[in-house]
């Protein structure tokens, strides 16, 4: 961070009140900075800079410091050292049109960008309990959907850019960390080390990644050192996790009543005869087990983070170490991560520089979490513990096949992962041609996972198998070598930026597994060498990518911009007849506000129009998928193993990438010195050659084959709006809203406009639909059931909607129900700063989603009621409701699901922070000290009655509310 102080006039040494005059200008030469707050450190004395950036303030002495802050700029503390007149140069922080943005294989000024590149605001990365970088992206930029599919200590998070264009292939964007493609779990990258996240959304921006670009690209860039004295930063937080919501399951008495009604054969049957002996005992003893509660705990989350950075003009460094420990709300759900990062940039000769960005990480996921599916289904009349408080193997002797939901607590499980992710470069200017340089990027990703798990005889699995061990060692060896030729030249009004790439990438994932069973005892767990049976499992997945790419950025007079990009990718996983694909794109930009005729120069800082068109691919073919594969179906010769293999997949030598052609139109606007910024974009894309695992007749022995068939289309609208509605003195209110609308539909499947009902794919409909029978109320006692479409129904049964009106219920009555595709998604950030206090909230919302709620299913308790479910009011002759059927195994023979509105608004983060006066911080030798509290997922508004509208499975680990408190000290 460059902080410069210019002393223009000799110090005037006077006692007490001194008048200090100053001017604040942008460090990038952008002229005066108006409306910056100037406060005398440790006091409430302050003022604002005027339109010329000038300010005057009376200070209590010659040796005080001024704290200068302004939204969008790096806050700085300037010691007066006796000066009475100063010029302060402020550096911008947040995204503005003049920022430099990482665009892949280089960076560009935002004003020169022609494609659609979104940047995640840095505050999403700071002072938040992010376990994974992905959490920082959620709701942060328009057009990027981040969904927490399952909760827990390490939540499972999916990222999707601009809707879903692929039906069966991956929809995840390519993740690139410090220039090198990153595969696997993003939680193995430390979010505290991250400086910026950029998302390449349109065809032109993503075209540099060719066959991997059509799902968008996430560029993660880690922190670098900057010129200046070493800066030490220590931050720490600790907090608790609690369950956000648990559905109301039946309690013991409700369950007993429910079971009685459901399985008694006559209304007069004694209810106690419907219970098993253990249930009766439980009811008599007042056993009322809330399995959901028993399986959870108050979790906690803790992080310590220390970094040092700095550098000279030739050497810049960043060294950071972080330790994170999360104990999730589900018992035994733990996540621990320790990372060390060294980022180093060295100028060796004026024409030669090299550097590295390297992280070493160790993550541990010891312990198998409580099985929440079992917990949600477990009988409240049964206790999981014996009299001594030990977990019982078979808690309900009459139902010995149902495991104790807490059984996993008895599993020995050591699961640790070590990973070194290193991105290195060497760049040399080529003599003789000005502006030409050669760069090589070499990335290596070495990861290993060691899993040792043992199911002793205190688990069902272990008892059946006589002790069972699972050992698994996975090692990843990925490397990338990029050879780049870079040419940058400004000739008069013409600027050229050329990039040429030849690249080779190799991915190698090898797993050696060993399952042992039949151990003499449980003493040594999986470390025993004496199992009766050892079954090895081995997998090797290798792939290669050979690529060439060229990119030209041409600008004329800062007004007209042109980007041409083309990438050619050869991928080993493609079928042998289609190894190479080429992906070109073009983009145009017009900085309208730089035109001399532009009439609103005073109020409009920048106005740019952008257009792009191009082709991207989705490479998502797993290695070997184009070959006909066989699976193990071994038999015996006597008692000796006899290997057997059966065909399970059909090969396809023509298999290749999916192709997406897309168009983007964008407008960037900044007004009143950034007091309002807006980006509006609209796009449309058509994807063809879909990699479709097409259902085929099982008569062929295999029920599906992957082919390049089918087409989808997406179109959408995105808006991001930043406003500073109020700014006065030391008070400032910032608000940022983003909104995304995406519509996708299937254009064709098999080339003949035929729907694929079996797969749930319909022409003209979104890829994800609710399709099935429709609930149409309940048959009532007075209804003429015999003449209905279900003549055999009884009062209290579900009436299925006779959609086609043919007076019978069959497959033709299945139809579309609501929409799984959100009408819109949005994120809203508000940040209010008053003097040293900053308060910010971040809401995100998904609106217009209908989903079937598994918890409302009617046939989930087994016929003899061995499972619990949510408490419901059922139809009875006395309470003839029309919303839910009678309590019976037969009242919903087609298993018609119940749908609910899964829209929600969530207060994702709420943060309050306080900057301790610096004289206080200085007592500890610090430069600044900030305290904060953050709350995550504290409030959700939804009509959904399940576990959580965002999570996939509704009988799973509940979403957690996290409250953390922390501090950041800088030295």
């Amino acid at each position: 961070m460059s902080m410069l102080l210019a002393v223009l006039v000799a110090p005037q040494i006077e006692a007490q009140q001194i008048t200090v005059k100053g001017t604040i200008v942008g460090a990038d030469g952008s002229g005066p900075v108006a409306s910056a707050t100037v406060v005398v450190q440790g006091t409430t004395i302050g003022t604002l800079s005027d339109q010329q950036g000038a300010f005057t303030v009376r200070v209590p002495g010659p040796n005080v410091s001024l704290v200068i802050s302004r939204i969008g700029y790096v806050r700085q503390t300037v010691p007066l050292n006796g000066a009475a007149t100063l010029t302060i140069r402020m550096t911008r922080t947040t995204v503005a049109l003049s920022d430099v943005v990482v665009v892949g294989y280089g960076s560009q000024a935002r004003s020169d960008i022609t494609g659609s590149v979104a940047s995640v605001k840095p505050e999403r990365l700071e002072e938040k309990p992010n376990v994974s970088v992905s959490q920082a992206i959620e709701g942060a930029t328009p057009g990027v959907t981040v969904t927490t599919n399952s909760a827990g200590a390490e939540p499972s998070i999916a990222i999707q850019v601009r809707g879903r264009n692929s039906i069966s292939a991956s929809t995840s964007p390519l993740v690139v960390v410090d220039g090198i493609p990153y595969y696997g779990n993003l939680a193995e990258i430390n979010p505290s080390d991250i400086a910026s996240i950029e998302i390449l959304k349109d065809a032109s921006a993503a075209a540099i990644y060719g066959s991997r670009g059509s799902n968008g690209v996430v560029l993660v860039t880690s922190r670098k050192g900057s010129v200046g004295k070493p800066k030490v930063s220590y931050s720490a937080y600790t907090g608790t996790q609690r369950i956000a919501n648990l559905p109301t399951l039946m309690n013991a008495q409700q369950f007993a009543d429910f079971k009685c009604v459901r399985i008694r054969t006559s209304p007069t049957q004694d209810c106690s005869t419907t219970l098993t002996a253990t249930e009766k005992t439980g009811l008599a003893n007042g056993t009322d087990t809330n399995w959901g509660r028993i399986g959870t705990r108050d979790g906690n989350q803790m992080q310590n983070d220390l970094s040092i950075s700095g550098g000279s003009t030739d050497t810049k460094y960043y060294l950071g170490g972080t330790v994170l420990a999360v104990r999730g709300v589900a018992l035994n759900d733990n996540f621990n991560r320790s990372t060390v990062r060294l980022n180093l940039d060295q100028v060796v000769r004026p024409w030669l520089k090299l550097g590295t960005s390297t992280q070493a990480a160790r993550t541990k996921r010891d312990g198998v979490p409580v099985n929440f599916t079992t917990a949600f289904f477990s009988n409240p009349l049964i206790s999981p513990y014996d009299a001594n408080g030990n977990v019982i193997l078979v808690p309900w002797p009459e139902d010995p096949i149902t495991n104790n939901a807490l059984e996993n607590l008895s599993v020995i499980d050591n699961d640790q992962n070590k990973r070194i992710f290193s991105s290195n470069y060497l760049q040399a200017d080529i003599p003789a041609i000005k502006g030409l340089s050669y760069r090589v990027n070499a990335g290596i990703d070495l990861a290993s996972r060691n899993l040792g798990r043992y199911f002793g005889r205190n688990t069902q699995t272990g008892l059946t198998a006589g002790g069972m061990s699972i050992l698994s060692n996975t090692s990843r060896t990925d490397w990338t070598v990029d050879n780049l030729l870079l040419y940058k030249r400004v000739l008069g009004r013409h600027s050229f930026d050329l990039t040429g790439l030849a690249s080779e990438q190799s991915n190698n994932l090898e797993t050696d597994g060993l399952r042992g069973q039949g151990y003499p005892n449980d003493v040594l767990g999986y470390r025993s060498n004496l199992p009766l049976l050892l079954v090895p499992g081995d997998s090797v997945v290798q792939s290669k990518l050979l690529s060439q790419m060229g990119r030209l950025n041409y600008g004329y007079d800062g007004r007209y911009l042109l980007t041409l990009t083309s990438r050619r990718d050869g991928y080993s996983g493609f079928g042998r007849n289609n190894k190479y694909g080429t992906f070109p794109s073009v983009a145009l930009g017009w900085n309208v506000s730089n035109e001399s005729f532009f009439p609103w120069q005073q109020s409009v800082d920048a106005l740019k129009l952008r257009f792009s068109y191009g082709k991207n691919g989705n490479q998502a073919i797993r290695p070997y998928q184009t070959l006909s594969q066989l699976d193990d179906r071994s038999y015996l010769n006597g008692d000796a193993p006899a290997p057997g293999y059966i065909p399970v997949t059909l090969g396809n030598p023509n298999l290749k990438w999916e192709t997406t052609l897309s168009r983007n139109i964008g407008l960037d606007l900044s007004m009143w010195q950034g007091r309002m910024t807006a980006t509006v974009e609209t796009y449309s894309s058509r994807t063809s050659d879909l990699l479709l695992r097409r259902s085929i007749s099982s008569v062929q022995g295999i029920s599906s084959i992957t082919q390049n068939i089918g087409k989808t289309a997406n179109k959408g609208f995105e808006m991001e709006l930043g406003i500073v509605p109020l700014r006065h003195g030391t008070f400032e209110w910032n608000t940022n809203l983003n909104l995304s609308v995406n519509r996708n539909k299937i254009v064709d499947l098999y080339g003949d406009q035929t729907d694929d009902i079996g797969s749930g794919w319909f022409i003209g409909q979104p890829i994800d639909v609710n399709y099935g029978y429709v609930f149409d109320g309940i048959f009532q006692a007075g209804d003429d059931i015999a003449k209905s479409a279900q003549p055999k129904a009884k009062p209290g049964d579900v009436r299925v909607k006779d959609v086609n009106g043919d007076s019978k219920i069959d497959a033709l009555d299945r139809t579309f129900i609501g929409s799984l595709q959100p009408k819109y998604t949005a994120g809203l950030t508000n940040s209010i700063r008053f003097a040293r206090v900053t308060f910010s909230t971040f809401f995100n919302t998904v609106q217009g989603v209908t989903r079937s709620n598994q918890l409302l299913g009617t046939n989930q308790v087994f016929t003899d009621v061995r499972r619990n479910t949510v408490y419901r009011i059922y139809w009875t002759p006395e309470t003839p409701i029309n919303t839910y059927p009678s309590n019976s195994n037969t009242s919903n023979p087609l298993g018609v699901p119940f749908y609910e509105d899964a829209s929600f608004i969530r207060l994702k983060d709420i943060t309050l922070s306080y900057d301790i006066p610096s004289d206080f911080a200085k007592r500890f030798g610090g430069e600044s000290l900030r305290l904060y509290v953050n709350g995550r997922n504290l409030w959700t508004r939804t009509k959904w009655t399940g576990l959580d509208p965002e999570l996939d499975a509704q009988r799973n680990v509940p979403l957690e509310k996290v409250v953390t408190g922390g501090l950041t000290v800088r030295f």
């Binding site: 008892l463 059946t464 006589g466 080993s572 070997y624 038999y635 059966i646 099982s698 022995g701 009902i757």
Partner: protein, 551 residues
Amino acid sequence: MTTTNSNPNQDVSMKTIFRRRTMMTLVGVATLMVAPVACNSDDILTEHPKDIIVADNLYTNLAGFEAGLNALYFEVRRERFGQANDNNNILATAYSIGTDNGFGLYLSPPERLFSEFGMLNNSQNLFTNAFWTLMYQTINAANTIITRADNPNVKWTPEDKARVVAEARLMRAWAYRHLTYLWGDVPLNLEESSGDNIRTDWDRAPRDSVRNVIINDLLFAEANLPAASTNPGKVTKAVAQHYLAEMYLWKGDNAKAEVEAQAVISSGLYKLITARYGVRASQPGTPFTDQFIDGNVNRTQGNTEVIWALQYAQNVPGGGASIMRRSWVTRYESNKGMAVSVDNGGRGIGRLAITNYGLNLYGPTDVRGGQFAIRRFYLFNNPATLPAGKKIGDTLFTVVATEKVMDALRPSTRKWDWADPNDVTGDAQYGDQPYIRVAETYLLLAEAQMKQGNPGAAAATINILRARAGATPITASDVTMGFILDERSRELVTEEQRRYTLIRTGTWLTRVKQFNKLASPVVQARDSLLPIPQAVIDANLTKVMPQNPGY
């Protein structure tokens, strides 16, 4: 960079050198960039999988083809395992219950399907669809072997080839037999599936055509399979002949049926077990029940009666697992005073049960209905739950009550008893099991004899079985189709694919209505054929595939 070697006489201006340097630099850089790409990129991008089996690598020699065949045996073994290759919903449910002698003792979807039929018997039923899918998977696997056996590059003897193809064709016949019994007219797929021959216009071949394919496959197998094998699990000539006899009976070729059945019986290789033998010969028991005990099942273990034995082994790769006991034995331990034990044969969960008709068929001296074959009583063995006035070792009699679900006191078969002493309540069992016994061949022979107007010979054939069982002999006048069906139940209950026998003899609907109390009020004629899976109809994009009538 070789510009320094230029001829000094030549006028080389600085400008030229500069240009050359530039050129050379560019060439150098370009070489660096292209280098990794140029070294035979096609090779780099060719996949060489190291951990997976692909067809082109497997079917190249006898060992590879044997591996293909082993998988087919695995598929046969799946009949006695769960729907999802797990411990629940045994696939044998499809032909065992919803018949005159088997019913669902439980209310999970497969049992309900065959007790309630109606709306549950629909084209989206996961259980019957899983059965269908397994059969066609087996057919494709067999087709792959049959097709690839013609590859001239395979190194093997003509005898090996003939035997391999014979086994594969027998397995294909096995699968089509299941399919056409359950679904009637079914698509005939006789080629290896590949990415190039995907069809969306399958036709359902008439049942008679399917039967002819089965018969042709079996005839080939009969001609090319050895009479005996040292590998106890392998199919032999007799398996083909046994199935041929059954197929000919179904077609009405009774004389041919007699020839095939007689061929098995008079081969001299097979004879009924008439004396105690094997691992528990010294403990109480009967010759009839000895042959079901693990250790006695294979021919190598002294079993002269078994024609095809399914192989299982615990803690051995490929050892498989079966849930016959789990499915057929009641939850007897839920009776007071009872606990699961090895003596009681392990733990059952009472999914399938024998009807009163099936339980009451036996005469008093018939060992096939006696305590060693069907559990007529238990001995109290659980002090914790002992009823008042009883002591350990007292007798708890099972009761043949009106059929109802979850009847824990109902007698159940002991043919599949097997328990691991270290895990008495375990789900699966790992003992070998008879799959086809020559006793059934006798019954096919008797049926063929009767249908050719020779009840005397039929009675004599049946009396061979009855004599071994200690049942009273019968006379020619006793022999009717009904009697043979009764005798089949007496001999083969829980082993027999009962639904197929009844379908084959045209007696399914009447006998279900007569003897299956749960299904009789609801079963209809249409239920004699299962509905074609909806996914198969939906996938037939370019041709309408007719559904079975009534669905």
